[in-house]
């Protein structure tokens, strides 16, 4: 059972290769897996450097989104006024399509790396913010009463009750936002790439598509998918380890 996904993947690759060969599909329409692997082997350093660049943007955005998300959720849970002021804007930010605003952000921010991080942060922010806010409100009223009974200040209640209670929610949000930060980084790189900023795997995809180098384009796509899977599993495993250590899993 453990090997089922890998075996299924191998079978799908074999069928794909067979279909391409039997159907004599031109490589500029659909390259087979062997051609894709050959394209990767031809320039592994270039593709991996681009992957590193995309991941750097992804992690930077995830960090900024985590700091901003937690800070705004804490601010919102501490004050009804802040909640009334922040919540509609957070929702507005979530529903605004990034491809529509990315060109503006890239022009306004100017510095390319910072612009990519801003774009990816916008996408990654909401799950972290919403999950943390839900977690901060999750302790039962009895525990809040207990802290009041013992004269705990609002910030002490935050530190000893609400923030620890929000940890599982935050970690769950982090896992969702990890994938979204990667998507945001790729979208931003695509927009920036069309403007001439040559960086990241998305730019390699764009470049390969302009040159009809479909095997290289697929190699970059595979790397992106692999990065997304590893990011998801990595953040999930790290979250589980933290929760186990805290006695919550």
């Amino acid at each position: 059972m453990k090997w089922a996904p890998a075996l299924f993947g191998l079978l799908a690759l074999a069928l794909w290769e067979a279909a391409v060969r039997i159907g004599d599909v031109p490589v500029y329409i659909l390259p087979g897996p062997i051609a894709v692997a050959s394209a990767f082997v031809a320039d592994p350093v270039g593709l991996l450097q681009s992957l590193a660049s995309t991941l750097f943007v992804t992690f930077a955005a995830l960090l900024v989104a985590a700091v901003l998300g937690v800070a705004m959720a804490v601010g919102m849970s501490a004050s009804r006024l802040a909640q009334a002021a922040i919540q509609p804007w957070a929702v507005a930010l979530q529903v605004t399509p990034l491809p529509a605003i990315a060109p503006l952000i890239i022009i306004w921010v100017g510095e390319p790396f910072a612009a990519l991080v801003v774009c990816a942060t916008i996408i990654a922010f909401f799950p972290l913010f919403a999950n943390t806010a839900t977690g901060l409100a999750s302790p039962p009223p009895e525990l809040n009463d207990l802290f009041r009974l013992y004269g705990a200040s609002r910030w002490r209640t935050m530190a000893l009750l609400r923030l620890p209670a929000a940890l599982p929610y935050f970690l769950s949000g982090l896992r969702i936002s990890g994938g979204l930060a990667l998507v945001g980084a790729v979208v931003a790189e695509l927009v920036a790439g069309t403007g001439g900023f040559a960086s990241g795997l998305a730019y390699r995809i764009l470049e390969a598509s302009f040159r009809l180098e479909m095997p290289r384009m697929f190699a970059a796509l595979f790397l992106l998918a692999l990065a997304g899977i590893l990011l998801n599993f990595g953040l999930g495993a790290a979250g589980q380890a933290i929760l186990r250590r805290r006695g919550l899993a």
Partner: protein, 244 residues
């Protein structure tokens, strides 16, 4: 210790939880507030704890009003911090009062021993049974050596065997600690077994209908004692009258 004078409490939506409720608590009392669900028992407990304020009447403390730690509160659920060990849960009230961990630990371990949890100091709530979690909750309420212990149906969710054991243990703790206990319950048997004073409340809006004084000497054999059966019968008759 505390005089509750003509207290009333109404909630939004016009729900009147308590009306003209008066009661006097004296040092060392064990008072059971007995009544059907929704009769304002828990509301009265929250007013006593200072977690809510009455719309009418007043609560007047003899001498100085209670400081943080003078009142212990045990809820229906154990309501422990799931990420904290038993000793850290019990340490919490002392920590909130600013006491250092090293300084507090002997006191924390002593109270955990007192409630029968020696050896479980490092256990987290999910590793403990329902009865053990409730013991941690009681230890947390006792660790500050409160003058007044408020208990809101603490054993309602436990099985009968565990409930009987915890009731007997609670009586021992009460005798040792010498604090005043106000115990909310809707079980006539529980009220008759535990309390020196059984206060019967009417359905909403809650009022105190009457009070029954117990002269039982509680022991493991009490439940087989004809005097206990007579007290249960008297309380049942009183409750039936209060419900009409």
């Amino acid at each position: 210790m505390l005089t509750i004078g003509h207290v009333g409490r109404r909630f939004a939506g016009g729900v009147e939880a308590l009306r003209d409720t008066s009661l006097r608590l004296t040092e060392g009392d064990f008072v059971a507030l007995l009544g059907p669900s929704g009769c304002g028992k828990s509301t009265l407990l929250r007013l006593i704890a200072g977690l809510d304020q009455p719309d009418d009447g007043a609560l007047t403390w003899d001498g100085r009003p209670p400081a943080a730690g003078d009142i212990g509160y045990v809820f229906q659920d154990a309501t422990l911090l799931p990420w904290a060990t038993a000793e850290d849960n019990v340490f919490l009230p002392l920590r909130l009062r600013g006491q250092g961990r090293d300084d507090a630990m002997p006191q924390v371990h002593a109270v955990l021993r007192r409630v029968g949890l020696a050896g479980f100091e490092k256990s987290r709530p999910r590793q403990l049974s329902g009865g053990m979690r409730m013991r941690v909750s009681i230890a947390r309420a006792l660790v500050t050596r409160p003058r007044l212990l408020l208990m809101d149906e603490p054993f309602a969710a436990l099985d009968e065997f565990t409930r009987h054991k915890l009731q007997a243990d609670l009586l021992e703790v009460w005798r040792d600690a010498g604090c005043t206990v106000v115990f909310v319950t809707h079980s006539i048997y529980e009220a008759a077994f535990l309390a020196r004073r059984i206060v019967l409340m009417t359905p909403r809006p809650g009022r105190i209908d009457r009070e029954i004084t117990s002269t039982l000497t509680q022991s493991p054999q009490t439940r087989l004692d004809p005097a206990y059966a007579a007290l249960v019968a008297e309380t049942t008759r009183g409750m039936e009258s209060a419900l009409q």
